[in-house]
Amino acid sequence: MFQHDIQTMPVPDLRRLQSERLSRQVARLHARVPFYRDKLACAGVDPATVSGIDDIAGLPMTGKGDLRDVYPYGLLAVDRAEIVEVHMSSGTTGKPVVDAYTAADLDIWRDVMARTLDMGGVGPDDVVQNGYGYGLFTGGFGVHYGAGRLGAVVLPMSSGNTFRQLQTMQDFGSTVLTCTPSYALYIAEFAAQQGIEPATLPLRAGFFGAEPWSLEMRAEIEARLGIAAYDIYGLTEIIGPGVGAECVRQDGLHLFEDHFFPEIVDPDTGEPLPDGEVGELVLTTLTRTGTPLLRYRTRDITFLLPDACACGRTSRRVHRLMGRTDDMLIIRGVNVFPQQVEQVLLRTEGVEPHYRLIVDREGAMDTLHVEVEMSESLFSDDLADLIWLERRIESALKAELGILARCMLVNPRSIERSEGKAKRVFDRREVTTHVR
């Protein structure tokens, strides 16, 4: 196991380490970042009184909006000269969120990404085909650094050009694939179209993240590509990928909590929730030096798993992410996550897991239309068969979501395939809510 001693550290020792790191981090932020000095003052916190990890609940929280307000460099806790690399989010929903790394931060990133890939036994004999985008996005470089730390060969492919991805995979004998889960599925589909049986590709493992995916989708990817598919987790604000990952037991994601301390809070009130309750994940970067964050609200919904993992790692695990507070749709007062729809479709035989959700408003009523790709094998000359299929999907959606949704069958491959994060939700209601 990579960094065995840290990863299997007895829990009391781990808490002690976290306590030391937290008090040091709070003192640094107070001394160096005006944004946090103000926040701590507003919350009435004297940094000198923060001595243990249990004091964390009294510290102020940081939201995505805070990060945007101080764009680009407002959260630097070091001199600009100490920054060696910058990544940022795409900024599609506002100003980008910036993560500025010192050399020490990049070392942390290498370590946590090495731990991530080591979960699936990646080592010097492996060829890692990295299909995450290289650039300001953290995915490409995160995997690149981690694989390098383990001595594996890295193929810095980025996403896209699927024909070349397949050719490279075959020519160089790639054993590990890293990309978004939707792109992994697309690669399998594309291979089959090219007459290549996807399961005969040399891959043995995949590390997939950057978008939420369901267990059913995992089963589909594992079956089609003949690999073990691991869920990985991270976000630009914290470090990029490498915040947590599944071990071979594939039962929740270990959080690398010696660096990133987790809490679960009520998404509405921000109040901490007892272990095991579903809420929003909040992370504090205990060791980052470039742009450290206190109690950052990730907007990711999950819960902490209660038991120790049989793999020997003592870090706590979170359940695979259940959705994002910002992806959550409220339709007729009911919370709906796109992954729930995905689960229903993957359980329905013959249906392709490509879909679009269209939310609209007819009069005062919210409507949910689910566009579903029909597989060729499912198509029938009999109208009744197709109507029955629609009804079967609709009743499964009703059972899963608790609301009525209309299923619309569409042509195979008519829904745009994504090489990065899939855009599946089209909420057209905003248009009517701003009428004055």
Binding site: M374, F379, S380, D381, M408, L409, N411, S414
Partner: protein, 137 residues
């Protein structure tokens, strides 16, 4: 008088419910020089099925494959019916009291003295046997 029967290869095309879809499919076939001997459309409020009897099956399938339009070939029965009162009734009478049912039916576009009906029987083999043995006098 025997019943004039022909087994036909029908192509069923999935029509998404969006404006212009039927036109796109028909245009695609026209551009390949495919002539349609018979056609029908069955629809729900959400999608439609276009059923056609093309004069050239291979060209039709190639055009649909190239455009990645979902389709399926189904064997149906073409029955020539005398173009006079009672012509169709006499044919349908043949199946009264049998286990054969008619899933759907439509007519040829260009009629001659005898109109051709395109019929999907269930089960088809039984229907063909009954038609082969029939004598409409």
């Amino acid at each position: 008088m025997c019943v004039d029967v022909e087994v036909l290869e029908q192509v069923t095309v999935f029509l998404e419910n969006r404006p212009g879809r039927l036109q796109e499919v028909v245009r695609l076939l026209a551009d390949r020089g495919v002539n349609l001997r018979a056609l029908s459309i069955a629809e729900t409020e959400r999608f439609g099925l276009l059923r056609i009897i093309p004069d050239d099956l291979e060209d039709t399938l190639a055009a649909l494959d190239d455009a990645e339009i979902t389709h399926r070939v189904t064997r149906v029965v073409g029955v020539r019916v005398p173009d006079r009162a009672g012509g169709l009734a006499a044919v349908l009478d043949l199946f009264t009291g049998t286990d054969v049912s008619i899933a759907y039916m439509y007519a040829e576009l260009s009629g001659g003295e005898q109109a051709m009906l395109v019929v999907r029987f269930e089960p088809q083999e039984d229907a063909l046997r009954i038609l082969a043995e029939a004598d409409l006098g």
